[in-house]
Amino acid sequence: MLKRALAIISLLIIGYWLAQGLAGVPFGQDRMLVGQYYLDHVKEQTGAVNAVTAVVVNYRGFDTLGEVTVLFIASTGVGALLWRKKRERTAKTEGSIVLTTGTRLLAPFIMLFGAYIFIHGHLTPGGGFPGGATIATAFLLLYMAFTVYEIPHKAFEKVEGAVGMSYVLVGLIGLAIGGYFLFDWIWQTWGWGHNNIGRLFSGGFIPVIYTVIGIKVGTELSGIVDNMLKEEVRE
């Protein structure tokens, strides 16, 4: 009781302190310094209509590379923590026939929608991470509905590594023919897609990067799900 009261009081104090700090920031006013630059120049500098993905992939590509690395480390960490010689799915109850049939029908559509999200990252909200998470959801659904389902590990791990490398490779090509790491060479150097801003074939290397990220995130989260759903088999 005393512990809980102390926790509540300290949380209230911290909350009041943070609110005091934020009270000086007016809401709804134009306080953009760098943001205005992004909004003004995003179209001719990156070709993307979605300013968020342009910032995330183009202007601050290092952040995204770091996030992909974090996800990769999380996936590897889960794999390392749960590593056993012999692990199998020990699920016993098959999903009901409604669930299995529904999964059979829905999983391809969910994957299709995930691919739609990451391919259209420069046009619509979303991008690689939501798209990849959606694809992983389809695999999670398959895992939940079928007791025997298992992702093809060899292919998944290879694809994961290959797309991770190709992200760095795209950045290195920018370094080679442009100027710096993660330089948008498709847009800036080649000038490819300049006349169709707002269509699918525009946005420089944002669709390329996001396809890569989407596949990577999808395979990684599926791998984490796979690792966590398996149990050690006693001989």
């Binding site: 016993k92 098959e94 009901s96 026939i97 409604v98 829905l106």
Partner: protein, 135 residues
């Protein structure tokens, strides 16, 4: 304000009314199964009304285009297909984890079915792996 706008607005109104009924059913109904029954059905129907209504509403406005209607139809179809499946899975999981029916319920054919299927005395309710699944 033309006919399409009016139709859309009416559909959205019907949809929100069904949302309200669904929320009311959640409070009003006595047990899990009845609550799922009311909330799933009317929430699905309400969502369909709201979504299709928004699509048709956007057709009538001057900023609108067909893109709104196609998107809302896709979302509505997805919801129409997924919502009953998820409700089914929830109800089934609730039954298997032993949540009792309302005390006013008069018959439980599913229990009888399970018990008739598993004549073995050690297996109790909810422990029948092959039942229901096709593989």
């Amino acid at each position: 304000m033309n006919a399409l706008t009016a139709i859309g607005e009416v559909l959205v109104l019907i949809g929100t009314f069904f949302y309200l009924l669904s929320a009311l059913g959640l409070i009003r109904m006595p047990d899990v199964y009845n609550r799922m029954q009311t909330s799933t059905k009317s929430a699905t129907l309400g969502s369909l009304g709201v979504m299709i209504g928004v699509g048709i509403w956007a057709l009538g406005e001057d900023f609108g285009s067909v893109a709104w209607l196609t998107k809302t139809i896709v979302i509505a179809l997805f919801l129409l297909l997924t919502n009953p499946v998820s409700a089914h899975a929830l109800i089934r999981a609730a039954y298997k984890s032993g949540i009792p029916l309302w005390e006013g319920s008069v018959m439980d054919k599913y229990r009888e079915y399970i018990e008739s299927k598993t004549r073995a005395p050690e297996s109790e309710e909810g422990e029948t792996p092959e039942e229901g699944g096709e593989e």
